[in-house]
Symmetry: C2
DNA sequence: TGTACATCAGTGAACGCGCGTTCACTGATGTAC
DNA sequence: TGTACATCAGTGAACGCGCGTTCACTGATGTAC
């Protein structure tokens, strides 16, 4: 769904080339991380001159921002589609992990080290809350697991601060479950993707799914 | 404690200037992240010419590697000192959080987005396992909390794969506690430092300490 | 259907910049007799 | 204590590089009469 889909041949060509540029951008990010992304390098890789890319993106910043947006969009769609197919948090956990392993640098583009100056545009923030919304919905299916005990202090805090959950009314226990789902799985996943378990002779997947069972049992 | 402490005036001056360079490097990382670190910029900031820094570091890579080493060293010392003062996991949790908030970019230098090519030298890996060792020691104090239930599958996996815990014999329950301490707190902490809770109207500290209580109650 | 014009993709040259790094050199500081 | 020498910090010029970005221009593609 393009922003202004005129669907003339030229427009189709444009859209395709934009996609191709992004494709090469992702490959470059996979190879050297986001800081190593270079417009000129992409152009060279595509067999064209550097300035040509300015027909498709206003500059490096716009390209990166769009990659970030696409990453969020992709994750939000994955989560939403999984949830809509009737999955509970367990299913979302599997989907999240698969999505992250599919392209670790894409995961880090969302949840990795922030660049001190950068502030994401509003529409990206919106997508981010879409993701939390889907988690909240899923967190209300099934019973609260017996082994995630009440924490009265946290419950009180969550009861007071929930303006962000607008459109997704949920009992505090579900809010808590959604948050723990997010932070705990991110904890294991991000350390795994960063290679922090290397040399421990331990399968991070076991840890991940143990956490997931703990959240959904 | 220098590597070869001759302690002549010149040596002292050298050590001091090395420290000063690192100081400016940290400020630059705090301002623009690790990728924005530049030798020439540091030199300019110190009022000297670029090549002068090559008296103190073989190059940019060596400086960065040393910063990473210092970061690990600082965290390991903090954890170890806290543990030696008789603290349990709860105390370590407070220390970890304080250490991370003190300089978020330093935290990310250790646990943030990895640079695809980079491989840390062996001695850094050694410091990393020092940290895990201290966690393992602390995880054996106190009782296993009632609300972290057994997970037979994970327990079995951990029982089989523990060569990394050499020098720190620990029952599987303690290993599990140490790992969960690490991954769960990192989960909350890294998302908080990255600003991912912004706009949720929610205090990440509440979440962090809730997790910590859950681990140590 | 053919012609005149507008639109647009892509090029090549150029600008200015900052980067890491080398090199030959100067001047100050320390060391040995 | 003074002199001769070695060590070392720091400079300035230079190299080569790649970056993002601009600009004037060419040639192809589409549009309007």
């Amino acid at each position: 769904m393009a922003i202004a889909g005129k669907d003339t041949p030229r427009e189709r060509y444009r859209a395709q080339l934009r996609a191709e540029i992004k494709q090469h951008a992702w490959e470059q990010i996979a190879a050297a991380g986001a800081p190593g992304l270079s417009l000129n390098a992409i152009a060279k890789q595509m067999g064209m001159s550097g300035p040509a890319l300015y027909r498709y993106f206003a500059g490096r910043d716009e390209l990166i921002t769009e990659l970030i947006r696409d990453a969020y969009r992709s994750l939000a769609d994955t989560i939403r589609a999984t949830a809509d197919s009737g999955a509970d948090l367990a299913g979302l956990g599997h989907a999240l992990r698969a999505w992250a392993l599919d392209d670790p640098q894409r995961y880090f583009l969302i949840y990795g080290t922030p660049v001190p100056g950068y502030h994401a545009p509003d529409d990206i923030t919106t997508i981010a809350s879409e993701i939390m919304g889907a988690l909240l919905d899923a967190a209300q299916l099934g019973d609260t697991p017996a082994d995630t005990p009440d924490d009265s202090r946290l419950a009180a805090h969550l009861a007071e601060h929930r303006e962000w959950a607008a459109g997704h009314p949920a009992p505090p226990s579900a809010v808590r479950r959604a948050l723990l789902f997010w932070t705990r799985l991110h904890g294991v996943l991000s350390l795994e993707l960063a290679g922090q378990f290397t040399g421990m002779g331990l399968d991070p997947a076991e840890l991940y799914f143990s956490e997931l069972r703990h959240l959904t049992r």
